[in-house]
Amino acid sequence: MRTRSSLCLLMTFIGCLCLAGSARAETLSYADAITVLAKECGADIKRHCKGLNLGNGAIQGCLEAKASKVSATCTATLETVIASIEQRQAAQQGYSKVCRHAMAQRCKGMRGDGNILRCLIKSTKHISDECNQAITDAGWR
């Protein structure tokens, strides 16, 4: 009986993991992503990466190189923040491909990213889920 209830618990746990895995993480704005990094890694940056700058991956490289000294929270946060920034950048770079059909159908003849995006956002209900998701991930909504 005990084994059975443990098994049930285990199955429920796995079920939850699957659900969590299928949920799509929202991308953060650059400001929010970097604010989390400053909050969780600020002390480590000041202690272990003094004089280094955010640009060219210097802070990231330093925190990774000194992982043994850096707090576990900071290491985990760094990974999340980098992933979020990369996801946002990928969406920004890839939207025109993902939304090609919608652009041809709904925004024919329009020029300039600004105009096209305004048109796509206006057409939210009529364009593909992938295109909508790319616009959301890119932070343009």
Binding site: Y30, A31, D32, A38, G51, N53, L54, G55, G114, W140
Partner: protein, 197 residues
Amino acid sequence: MATRSRTNNLLLALASTIGFGVLANVGDVGAQQLTHKQMITSLGRLDAAAPEVDIALLMEQANANVGNGVTQLPDWSRLAKLSQLVVEINFENNSIAIEPDSYRALGLIADALHHPDLFRYKFLVVGHTSSTGNPKHNLELSQQRADAIREVLATTFAVSPDRLYSIGVGQEWPIDSANPANAVNRRVQLINLGLVK
């Protein structure tokens, strides 16, 4: 040196189409935390075609007039007519390393520069110091800091580098000209230079 390490809140002061007189009051009238939308609106407001700005000439004037003030920088006054923001960003003492408490300011700028309404524009990052310390060193440091901000925007936040220019003016163009040593004069200006060609 014209630097300090202190914790304070991000101050974003709006300086829209202005002359030097109004700019002198920006710290008083405009200091506020702007929203993302307000940033985009203020940076994207082009009342007329942006006058052509010769960055090499600005640099030449700044280098030739160290310690002589803004009146000796005639072409710099053209910048005051452009759509812009004044942003406070803290650096480690006498260093180009940006303090973590200012990362958010850079993130906000990056979000604004990635917004579709501002895609078409190029921007000038101008570094300023207060008058504390040696004027020549202040000029060099302000240039290096402006370069560092450009680098962060172009690498960490993937703003296309062909949209970004950087220049330092040292202590020559204070917001609070009556008190050139005032900390409010240490700041970064982000100026819309008009359409990317």
